[in-house]
Amino acid sequence: MQGTVEIPAKQVATKRPSAELNPPQREIDDQGLLRSGFSVVLQLPTGSGKTWLAEQAIAEVLDQGQRAIYLTPLRALANELLERWSTRFRGHRVGVFTGEFGQSQAYPVPFEQADLLIMTPERLDACTRHWRSHWGWLPRVGLLVVDELHLLGDKGRGPRLEGALLRTRALNPFLRVLGLSATLGNRAELADWLEGVHYHSDWRQVPISWRSERFKRAADKPGILIAEARRCVDEGGQCLVFVQSRRRAEQLSAMLSEAGIPAGHHHAGLESHQRQKLEVEYRSGATRVLVSTGTLEMGLNLPARLVVLYDLQYFDGTDFKPLPVNTVWQRAGRAGRRGLDDRGEVLLIGPAWDREIDRYAEGRFERITSGLADRRALAEQLLAEVSSGLARTRPQLHRRFAQSLAAHQDRLPNIDHVLAEMTESGMVTEVSDDDEKAPRLKATRLGRIAVRQMLAPVTVLSLARAFADEGAPSLKLFDILLACAATEDCEPRIPADFEELEDLGGRLAKQPSSYLARSVGELRQDMGHNGRRLLAILKTALIAREWTRTGCAQTVADEFGCYVFEVRRLAESLERILSAAVAIVTPPKNAEQTTSEETPPAAPLVEGPVLADRVRALAAMVAHGVDEQTVTLTYVSGIGGTLARRLRDAGIEDIEDLAQADSKGVAQVRGVSESRAACWIEEAAQIMTSRSAFSLREFGMSGRSTLSTLDLPVDPYRLRRALDLMVRRQSDAYLVSGGLEPHRVESASVGLRCDCQGFEKGHECKHVLAVRLSQNDAQLRLVVERLSSESSPLDFDLIQLWFDRDKP
């Protein structure tokens, strides 16, 4: 084995004295398990020092001059570890790489320079897809720690973890994997897959005892909880309660507080500062009871004397199912505080008739099965292999996936079938340029887009189809959002309640949209969904649209009764999907890339520039939380979302305002010098000669709208803005304020004249319109009336959708 048998003195010095090791840690150390040179799967109960052991293994690898990766599924935990390890591994550089997916981002410690890389599985997946750009550091890694190894079995995240492992191990044959988990039903099988060894112990610092309370009616549950929590708190304990939904967490914690028990609630919907505050209060003992959703089941170290499993079932999207044993144990593992409790208690609350409950205490963990057994997940990973150039032929692909956990478990779908679907849908092509050799697999442009943005192939495909549809040129901003929200990568999709259907209907009626102008049947077809899922898509698109209007996640969350966190995540996820959308509508740079082999049957027609412009603008709107007006500022080179928002807040709301502003005024904005402002103004004026600041504005329900710019005597948007201005009469003129700068409007031989630059250039400016409105101009009043009644009810009732029978 390579230099691993003897431990140099230096390393011994970095170890804590062995007296401090707990029994399993000592045994692992005595056996030299972490130094054996093999991959290792460690299964130890929660809180028994797995992360601590990993830290020792990392220290050794770093001492040998190699690098280490630590994978954790939680971003919050990654940051906690960064803090701890920056001190622990002083002298080595520790980097954290959790940014969502493939977005470009500058990290404080770049990949190349980090000795210890703390990452999410998705990040590592992204790195391996673009392995050439990461070749400077990937080969130097000696150890890959996978915390919460059972994530492999997660339907959503498992396949990306598995794909990342598969590729990292192929790219770095020297890599050792250290997998950690408290709950694995098939530890030996996983170790065998990793060609390593495994270790297991049930030892706990604080032993736990299990019991259950039975109820006859669900209404009895809160009473049981209050009694148990009170007893625990009165005896000086702390209590963790796991429930199935955020709402229930909030309700129960309110109820407990009302009963005089200091309680808080914890779930993924909280802002990180709220969560941190809560964690501090709980650790300090000020909060005695914490009611939480599943978010606490991984990683965070918040132990309690009593852990209550209030709900023993969970909602899997369609149905309520009994909680897996693994999940129950992940949660139960928090029972018993080191040094504070001599015993931890686990309480299961279940219905009297349910016999199954008692089996939880036996701890027969479920087998972790590969998520790649799912064809869609496999399709994504298959495409990643092809696009990254790691598998260039069909046999290569077969051999690669023969190494997967799915294959190891005999659950791998038929690769040829999946590949056939992919070639048929135009994500992959198979080219044979030499009769002797196996035909070469290549990812098409669409395929590469999916890989780059880490999207499911079907997502990219459905967008491409939407944009290739004959109705595509008339898609509005809201329609594009709908198309994105309908894809499987849109996350979260926020469900609609029955009570809010009317409100949603009203909001939808105001959306310029061509999808909504069609019949409900067509809408179901366009979106590929029906029923409540379709309602959730509609609501989610509305939320996203509101985000672009206000740019304030809190406001949007309040308005739609969802969580700030959800709005943020949604914006992030849509940003990624829209990046793919932009790539789809942007014609490839060199024609070479669209040779016949690359043009599959279902290739998107590259439609007119108008749709492409809208998609591009929408991507920027969602990314920065700005509306279609403010986003025009980003047409100017050097102005991104942040500056555009600052300019807007200073009254420069669009590119026309900027073109007409003076550089001194613009330089008032933070971070803008006068010379920079002058350049912008010049460029804005230049752009204005070819594009209007209003080009993206839409109104009316497409197809049914009675209004069009052609039959209006004025530009409706300028008119809307004129309505916001204040007009004051001075002796011989009008003073118009409320915009960036006040302007003077005077009577002229014909009509009115303004001193703004827009007027000079021959526009009827908003200032002049404001004066005409103040003069009660009849023609303008009429237009204003027509504009304000501009919303037409949907042709169908949302309730209809609510009662759709949900078909999968």
Binding site: Q2, G37, R140, A170, L171, P173, A391, R392, Q396, A402
Partner: protein, 329 residues
């Protein structure tokens, strides 16, 4: 004749090279992409790398491990190459796309001074079929170049090996004699690759050179087959170099298993094959995930369906089979 022995290591500023040593050859540039995949792993399997001047010139990031740069004099064997005497030195003229390139010992040394830890002097191999007169001229120029390099070396920590060429045992011996007593750090025997089919005569040449310089490290260019290497090391050679590990891998082959050929190896499979081959040659620990290439596993079975030609199917992997990960010697 002294009775002292050659050293058991040499020191470079980038690390100690212990003898006997096996130096993997690597290249830079676009010609052999597999080398870029393999190179980052070489420090785990070898004490130093060997690069030919032509490829070293295309290097962008210098590896941190000790690097040996040879002179590229073997190009004198190519069609259209000429060895020209200029003021007593041997200069190599090659023609590429009608353009004549000139390689002067000065160019070689200058580059080596900048990048190498160990340098080989500009030599001109004598193929077995060459006219003896021309052979003699080439050996004389090889010696002149070596002496010039020794006198003009500026970097103290640049190790310099003089290249030994010849056309028969006596001429090799004579060439080595010309270096005896000069303060070279070692001698390197060239021109052996075309003679390998007559391995007996290779060994005679090695013996003859060794007898002339008993106390200096001796390197043999280009002979890296595991079987041969053992014999050479036993014969008192300190080091060899070879690119066979990666050439075989590019061809989907494993050293010592002629029955195995992966007809259509993927980039990472070639990487694994190359590392396995090198681990065999250097007798270091095999890379973990390549172990199954050697010991058989489910991979073999899947490969069977997936286009691998194997004569015999190794047995199913057992726990004991994975344990002795060091290559069989």
């Amino acid at each position: 004749m002294t009775h002292s022995k050659p050293p058991d290591h040499i020191n470079t500023t980038r690390g100690v090279i212990k003898f006997p040593a096996y130096f993997p050859v690597t290249t830079f540039g676009d010609k052999y992409p597999l080398d870029d995949l393999v190179r980052p792993y070489l420090p785990r399997l070898a004490p130093a790398i060997m690069v030919s001047l032509h490829y070293a010139r295309q290097m962008k990031d210098r590896p941190t491990m000790p690097m040996l740069i040879d002179s590229g004099g073997f190009a004198s064997l190519f069609d259209g190459a000429r060895v020209v005497a200029q003021r007593g030195f041997g200069v190599l003229e090659t023609t590429h796309d009608e353009k004549v390139e000139v390689l002067h010992p000065k160019d070689v040394l200058e580059f080596q001074e900048q990048h190498a830890d160990l340098a080989f002097t500009l030599d001109f191999p004598v193929p077995p079929s060459m006219d003896p007169e021309e052979g003699k001229r080439r050996v004389e120029l090889t010696i002149a170049n070596a002496r010039w390099a020794l006198q003009n070396r500026r970097r103290k920590d640049l190790l310099l090996y003089a290249c030994v060429q010849g056309w028969d045992v006596d001429s090799f011996r004579a060439c080595a004699k010309a270096y005896a007593g000069l303060p070279f750090d070692g001698l390197a025997i060239g021109g052996m690759v075309p003679r390998v089919s007559d391995f007996k005569s290779v060994l005679e040449i090695v013996d003859a050179v060794r007898a002339e310089v008993p106390n200096k490290p001796l390197h043999v260019f280009g002979l890296g087959k595991p079987g041969l290497v053992d014999t050479l090391f036993k014969r008192g050679v300190q080091s060899v170099d070879s690119s066979s590990y990666v050439k075989l891998a590019a061809d989907g082959r494993l050293w010592g298993q002629p029955a195995v050929k992966l007809g259509d190896a993927s980039p990472t499979e070639r990487l694994q094959l190359a590392l396995c081959n090198l681990a065999m040659a250097t007798q270091r620990a095999l890379p973990l995930s390549a172990a199954h290439l050697m010991f058989g596993s489910r991979l073999w079975e899947s490969r069977n369906q997936a286009g691998l030609d194997i004569a015999t199917k190794p047995g199913r992997r057992t726990k004991t089979a994975t344990q002795p990960l060091t290559a069989p010697t």
